[in-house]
Symmetry: C2
Subunit: 527 residues, 2 copies
Amino acid sequence: MDNFEASESKMNGADRLCDVLLTNDVEVCFANPGTSEMHFVAALDRKPQMRCVLGLFEGVVTAAADGYARMAEKPAATLLHLGPGLANGLANLHNAKRARTPMINIVGDHASYHLQHDAPLTSDIESLARPMSHWVGRVEGPEDVGRATAEAYKAAMSLPGIATLILPADAAWGEVASSAVEQTKVPTPTTAPEEALGAAVAAIRSGGRTALLLTGRALRADALEIAGRIADATGVRLLAQMSNGRIERGIGRVPVTKVPYPVDEAVAALRDIDNLILIGAKVPVAFFAYPGKPGRLIRDDCEVIEFARPGDDLRNELARLAEELGVRPDAPAPVVQYGTGLDYPRSGQLTADAITLAVAALMPEKAIICDEAVTSGRRFFNLSQRSAPHDYIQLTGGAIGIGIPLAIGAAVACPDRKVIGLQADGSGMYTVQGLWTQARENLDIVTIIFANRSYAILQGEMRNVGVNNFGHNARRMLNIDDPALDWVSMANGMGVEAGRAETIEDFLNLFRGALARRGPFLIEAVI
Amino acid sequence: MDNFEASESKMNGADRLCDVLLTNDVEVCFANPGTSEMHFVAALDRKPQMRCVLGLFEGVVTAAADGYARMAEKPAATLLHLGPGLANGLANLHNAKRARTPMINIVGDHASYHLQHDAPLTSDIESLARPMSHWVGRVEGPEDVGRATAEAYKAAMSLPGIATLILPADAAWGEVASSAVEQTKVPTPTTAPEEALGAAVAAIRSGGRTALLLTGRALRADALEIAGRIADATGVRLLAQMSNGRIERGIGRVPVTKVPYPVDEAVAALRDIDNLILIGAKVPVAFFAYPGKPGRLIRDDCEVIEFARPGDDLRNELARLAEELGVRPDAPAPVVQYGTGLDYPRSGQLTADAITLAVAALMPEKAIICDEAVTSGRRFFNLSQRSAPHDYIQLTGGAIGIGIPLAIGAAVACPDRKVIGLQADGSGMYTVQGLWTQARENLDIVTIIFANRSYAILQGEMRNVGVNNFGHNARRMLNIDDPALDWVSMANGMGVEAGRAETIEDFLNLFRGALARRGPFLIEAVI
């Protein structure tokens, strides 16, 4: 207990908020505060056990909290400044919501009695928060802070998902009676209904071609081992959603295939499935609609069994399914075996595939791959199936600009592991400010920029809509080559050492060097 | 009419949308498109008369559209990618909304029939749009595009303000009958009621101390001249709101004082006012609430007369008021006279004031000052009252990150005028990507970074809440000096030439050089 807490008369709502977070082991706060949050900042200043990490833009803050929780398996808090501060963080909250990442956003607001004046920074925070939150609440006064913060924590943990709590300045600065804070009780995860279990078993035993579609907690090594034993024993296929919060993979882990992004490839991959059993996942749908192409990617007559839901304990549900199927828990799981090292090109022209192969071959054990490589990285997942054991975290909701800050959060959560960011250049510019936080916190991150100097995915999509010869306006909207971005200068400007690779030799030198040192490093890979 | 329009069979909703915009003289589109907007991009590609300006982040896009409309006196369009793309642009939409800038946001959405699938990028766009828009609409199908776009234009022009139109992909790609597009009729501005006019006249004649509180169109040179004649003839004071979209000022213009930002200063400035007549403005309130300080900044017994409202023609309302008061329209207006040049320090330590004085003294005629200098620029407005005639546009809604892109829009609107950005470093990092667009479009902008390497405003606010000795967490959230941002490297990395000034001599050399050339230049002023 620090000195301040001992002084009963001086405790305020913001202190109580910090206490509830810390008591629940929420010990990292990614922040970009403003005037209305000054009492909260002052309270945090009295709690050195809370680690405060500044982002120079709120999109950095929310994606960092996302990356942190994916790896730490517990939520971080964020501190955001009124409606506009929240708004700046929304795109990456959208991604975190789609990953079902637990997160507690504290959004400051004007003092409750000040709202009537419609001061310049006033806005409808609830309306902004709801689309990208699973839970939204507003503190009703200083004495309500404890209850409201506990509710937010409970929502973040149990849904799991995004809890956004609006904290009026007068609730933060108002005095509260000093009292001990208890750990918040979180409901135990739900259990899939017996009928759903029965339906899953029946589908697997039906003789039809059946797949388990996995996401969330079901993609951790221990859950995948159970799924792998079920696959070995029954012949079901294992599939992961197109995008997932985190996958444990590589040598020693049960491999899983992802549903592909391009519609035609996805339809082909799912065409032979008669029964699809959802394990926390959703029926695969096209990322976008295209004239004449399907929205649902499975066959119309494919039977869908929603077995385990996002709020269920997915590992436990897989264990129930295995037991019901008579799969022995001590059977060996079909994990990737140690083999000869992966091959990769040693010289020549630098391409996205060459980088992908080199990263797959050279990444150290327990690396954390942050994938926002978009078109350039599409083959990484398949090429790294036999890499050293690693975690794979990725863009989940399609809102670009997650990569650089997602790596921040992962590195804060796992300071002893190497984080490798696979980063498209167009997406990277969205939250380029995150490089500064990587430097400030001296985080062990190698960021590889796939510098193709275009929105390559959109150039492909333009061709999909039948435009092959781009005119002036299309070129001005889909190319980012004029002027070319100098990522080395930008990184250096934010305190991150960097190098440019134009050949495979350059890249290998820089990448090996980055792996051999600690701290942030950026490689601009010109492809 | 271009070749494509001549081919009836190939016209789609997106083409119609472009036609409605172009027919209404909306000829600039600030854009960051995505897959769901590809048909719109293809349509823009068929309309070379539309100037498409790419921003590498949507906060750049919306602030650029704001700066453009403030100077061009007509709206630009923006092109944003679904909910997350809109979300990224919201903070600067908030600023534009507070400035009542006319703007037409086109937000792409999934094809209407695809929404049911809740694909990863799906979100409640209306809920996100409403807090930062004056008008929100959704296109109901290809044949509805013409009506909906005209409505959006009408709303943007007449409120005036932010119109956000959601364009489902299938409305964009669906065929429409080719037909001529007519110019959209915009309602004439409203007129203040006679009783309000009478009340304003009575207040001015009451013998009490009366002030006109001006904003919006009332702060252009011609409207200010009328206000100045009223002031000369009747003794009323002229005040501008704390934040305004645009003020024409300097030599030859009627000077006006702004309501100060610090609460105590504002209260002091407004203390002696008995009658406050609003000309498009709102009653001055504190930007934030502070314990024990007032929210409304005028005296409780100050009589408020809401004479002209934001939708009125404010120049015309001032003319009505002058006429009713018997003020002669040919009387000389009390404009700032040419005098001896302004003085400024020529050597020594670089400070915010030294920069301010140099800019005030050296700015060329017709310069456009974009002010997001926050604490460092607080004295600029008063010190530049006698500068060369110039426009002053500023952060309006308190959502930081407007400056760099606001300058983009102003420069696109006024290619023959020098734009000078006064930019705080912390705020500048929010939309630092805008420097790339400045380079790409070769815009004539000098950006002066006030590099104090801290959130100085927040350090002041922490002292306001009684914290004078910052601990570890407060320092980690309020200082941005570790590592120091190297703005020269960042600017160079985005194609903008730059130099660093550590003394007044350095600064004057760089600033004079930047004024003498065309194209973007950035000065990192270390203060």
